[in-house]
Amino acid sequence: MEIIMSILAGVLFTTGVYNLLQKQLLRIVIGTALISHGAHLFILTMSKLKRGAPPILDYDIKDYADPLPQALILTSIVISFGVTSLLLVLAYRASKENGTDNMEKLRGNEND
C-alpha cells in the first residue's frame, strides 16, 4: 500500500512540476496545488498506513496508529489552502493589471 501511495505522490509531483513550468498563470497555480497534494500524501505515507488502531500510546497498548502525521497534514493543508486562494486572487489581479497572463511577457526590465 505504501508503495502505491508513494508512486501516486510521485505522479502528483511530476504533473505539478510540469504545470509549474508552463507559461500560463492558471496552469502554474494548478501546478502548485498538485505539488502540495503530493506533499500531503507523502507525509501520510511516511508513517506507515494502518487501519483500526486507536491513536493512543500507553504502556499496555501494543497496537496504535501514529497521530502525528495527521496533525502535520492538517496544518499543512490549511496553509496550502490559504496560499492557493491568495495566489488565485493574485494571479487574477496581476493578469488584469498587466493585460496578460503569459509569464514570458511578465518579465519586466531594470528600471521599473
Binding site: 508513517s47 502535520l72 493574485l90 531594470e110
Partner: protein
C-alpha cells in the same frame, strides 16, 4: 529552565496585530499604538536576553507536553539575540513607516501585517521543532505576501507572483523533507532528531535529507544558484517593506541553516560543509557582480543582500567556533545595516524622484546629512574599521584561515572591495557633482527620514566600536553551536 518568557516575543506582536485591525482607519491611533507596543516589546526582549544570560536557556513546553512529544520553544542566547535585533529593526521601521507610506497603504492593514511579520520571524528564531519552523516560515511569508502587494501597483503584482511561487514551492519541499526526516528518525523535535542522528550515525539517506533541507533554506536565504528570484521583488514594494524584507527574511533562512547544520547534520562535514564553502564562494562573487551591474540604486542594495548571505555561509562552512561566532556576529550586523541601507535608498528615491543613478547628481548640496549617512553605511557594509562589518569579517576570515580555506578568505576580501565600490558608486554619482539648481530641496521630508536611519547606524557603530563588550557573548554562542550536546541537554533533560 521552563518559563513562559520564551513565548512572549511571538504572542505580543500577534495580539497587537489583531488589535491593530480594529482601528486600521484611524491612522493617528494605530501609529501611536504600534509604536508603543514595539518599544515595549523591544524592552521586554532585551530583558529576556538578560534573563537568559543570567539563568541559562529558557524553554517552554507548550500545553505542558514533555519535550520530545509536544512543541517546544527554545530561547537560547543565539535565538534571543536575533529576536532582539529583529525588534530593533522593527522599531526603526515603525517610526519610518508614517513618512514613507501613503495614506492608502497605511490604512490597508500595514501595521497588522507588520506585527504578523515580526511575530513570524521571532517564532522562527525561537521554535525548537522542525515542523513548527515550517509553520512560522508560513506565518512570516503570508505577512510578506500581503506587504509586497500593499498599494497594488502593476509592477508589484507582477513581481509578487514570482515571489509567492518560489516561496510556495520551497515550502512544499520543506514539508516533504520534514516527512522524510520523520520517517527516518521518527521525530520532528530538533533536539531529539539531533540525538537520534548522533546515536545511529549519519547514514547516506540522512546526508541526502540534509542537502535537501539545505536546498529549501538556501532558496529562502538566496544562495548561489537559487538567488535569482530575490532582487526584483525586494525593490518593488515601499521602502519600509523592502527594509523589513531585506533585514529579516533571508536572515531567517540563514539562521535555519546555522541551527540545522550545527545541531543535526554534523557528522559528514566533508560532504555538507565543504559544499557550503563552494556555494558561499559563488554567492559572494555573483552577488557582488550583480550589485555592480545596475544603475538602479534600489537594485544595488537588493543585490548586496546576496554577498552578505555568502559571508555568513562561509562561517558555517568552515565549521569551527571562530567561524560560527563570525556568522552570528555578521547576522546581527547585517540585519541592522541592510534595514538602514534600504531606508537610505528609499529616502533618496523619494527625494530625488528617481532610482536611476544616471538621472541624479549633486544631492549632497541639498541633503548633506543623508549623504554622510550613506557614506558611513557604505563603510559599515564593506567592513572598514572601526564599524561592525569589520569585526564580523575579521572573525569569518580568521575562521576560514584556521580551517585552511585560504581561497575563500581571498574571495571574501576581494568581494568586500567590490561591495565598497558598488556603494561608493551611489555616493559619487548621486551625491557628488554640480548642484542641480532646478531641484527644490525637500528639507522637511529629509529630516523625518534621517531619524530612523541614524538610530540604526548608531547600533552599527556601537556594535563595531564596542566590540569588546559583545565579543565574549558572541564567542560563547559560537562555542555552544559547536557543541550540539548543550542544546540537546537543555531541551530534553529538564
Amino acid at each position: 529552565m521552563i518559563s513562559n518568557l520564551a513565548v512572549l516575543p511571538i504572542v505580543i506582536p500577534l495580539i497587537a496585530g489583531i488589535l491593530a485591525t480594529l482601528f486600521h482607519k484611524k491612522l493617528s491611533v494605530v501609529r501611536i499604538f504600534s509604536q508603543i507596543i514595539t518599544v515595549l516589546n523591544t524592552v521586554m526582549v532585551a530583558y529576556i536576553l538578560w534573563y537568559i544570560h543570567q539563568n541559562g536557556t529558557v524553554i517552554l513546553e507548550s500545553g505542558d507536553w514533555m519535550a520530545p512529544f509536544g512543541i517546544v520553544l527554545v530561547g537560547d542566547m543565539l535565538s534571543m539575540s536575533l529576536v532582539l535585533t529583529t525588534n530593533i529593526v522593527a522599531l526603526a521601521s515603525v517610526f519610518f513607516a508614517p513618512h514613507s507610506l501613503n495614506q492608502k497603504q497605511e490604512e490597508f492593514y500595514f501595521y497588522t501585517f507588520y506585527f504578523l511579520l515580526v511575530s513570524g520571524v521571532s517564532g522562527a528564531f525561537i521554535t525548537g521543532d522542525l515542523f513548527n519552523l515550517f509553520v512560522f516560515f508560513e506565518v512570516l511569508l503570508m505577512a510578506s505576501y500581503a506587504m509586497i502587494i500593499l498599494g497594488g501597483g502593476k509592477v508589484q503584482l507582477r513581481e509578487s507572483i514570482k515571489y509567492v511561487l518560489i516561496n510556495l514551492f520551497s515550502s512544499m519541499l520543506f514539508v516533504t523533507t520534514v516527512a522524510f526526516i520523520y520517517s527516518v528518525v521518527g521525530t520532528v523535535n530538533m533536539a531529539q532528531i539531533a540525538q537520534r542522528v548522533g546515536e545511529e550515525e549519519q547514514t547516506g539517506i540522512l546526508t541526502t535529507i540534509g542537502i535537501l533541507l539545505f536546498f529549501v533554506f538556501g532558496t529562502k536565504a538566496a544562495l548561489f544558484p537559487l538567488y535569482y528570484w530575490l532582487p526584483k521583488p525586494y525593490i518593488v514594494p515601499n521602502p519600509v517593506v523592502s527594509a523589513l524584507f531585506g533585514a529579516l527574511l533571508t536572515k531567517v533562512g540563514i539562521y535555519s541553516i546555522v541551527r540545522v547544520f550545527s545541531l543535526i547534520f554534523v557528522y559528514e562535514t566533508d560532504i555538507t560543509h565543504q559544499l557550503f564553502i563552494w556555494i558561499a564562494g559563488f554567492t559572494l562573487i555573483f552577488g557582488a557582480i550583480g550589485a555592480l551591474s545596475t544603475n538602479n540604486i534600489k537594485l544595488v542594495v537588493a543585490y548586496n543582500i546576496i554577498p552578505a548571505v555568502g559571508f555568513m555561509l562561509v562561517g558555517i562552512g568552515v565549521y569551527n567556533s571562530t567561524g560560527m561566532s563570525g556568522t552570528v556576529y555578521y547576522l546581527i550586523h547585517d540585519m541592522i545595516i541592510k534595514a538602514a541601507l534600504f531606508f537610505i535608498v528609499g529616502a533618496i528615491t523619494y527625494l530625488a524622484g528617481t532610482s536611476d543613478l544616471r538621472k541624479m547628481q549633486g544631492l549632497i548640496h541639498h541633503y548633506p546629512l543623508l549623504g554622510w549617512l550613506l557614506f558611513i553605511s557604505a563603510f559599515v557594509l564593506a567592513g572598514i574599521p572601526p564599524f561592525s562589518g569589520f569585526i564580523g569579517k575579521l572573525l569569518l576570515l580568521q575562521g576560514a584561515v584556521e580551517a585552511d580555506e585560504i581561497m575563500i578568505a581571498i574571495i571574501g576580501l576581494a568581494v568586500s572591495l567590490l561591495i565598497l565600490l558598488s556603494m561608493m558608486r551611489i555616493f559619487i554619482r548621486g551625491f557628488w557633482g554640480e548642484k542641480d539648481e532646478k531641484v527644490v530641496a525637500n528639507k522637511a521630508a529629509a529630516k523625518k527620514f534621517v531619524m530612523p536611519i541614524a538610530f540604526l547606524l548608531i547600533f552599527s557603530i556601537v556594535l563595531g566600536v564596542g566590540a569588546e563588550w559583545f565579543i565574549p557573548g558572541i564567542e560563547s554562542i559560537g562555542n555552544d553551536l559547536m557543541n550540539p550536546a548543550i542544546y540537546i541537554e537543555s531541551v530534553l533533560k529538564e
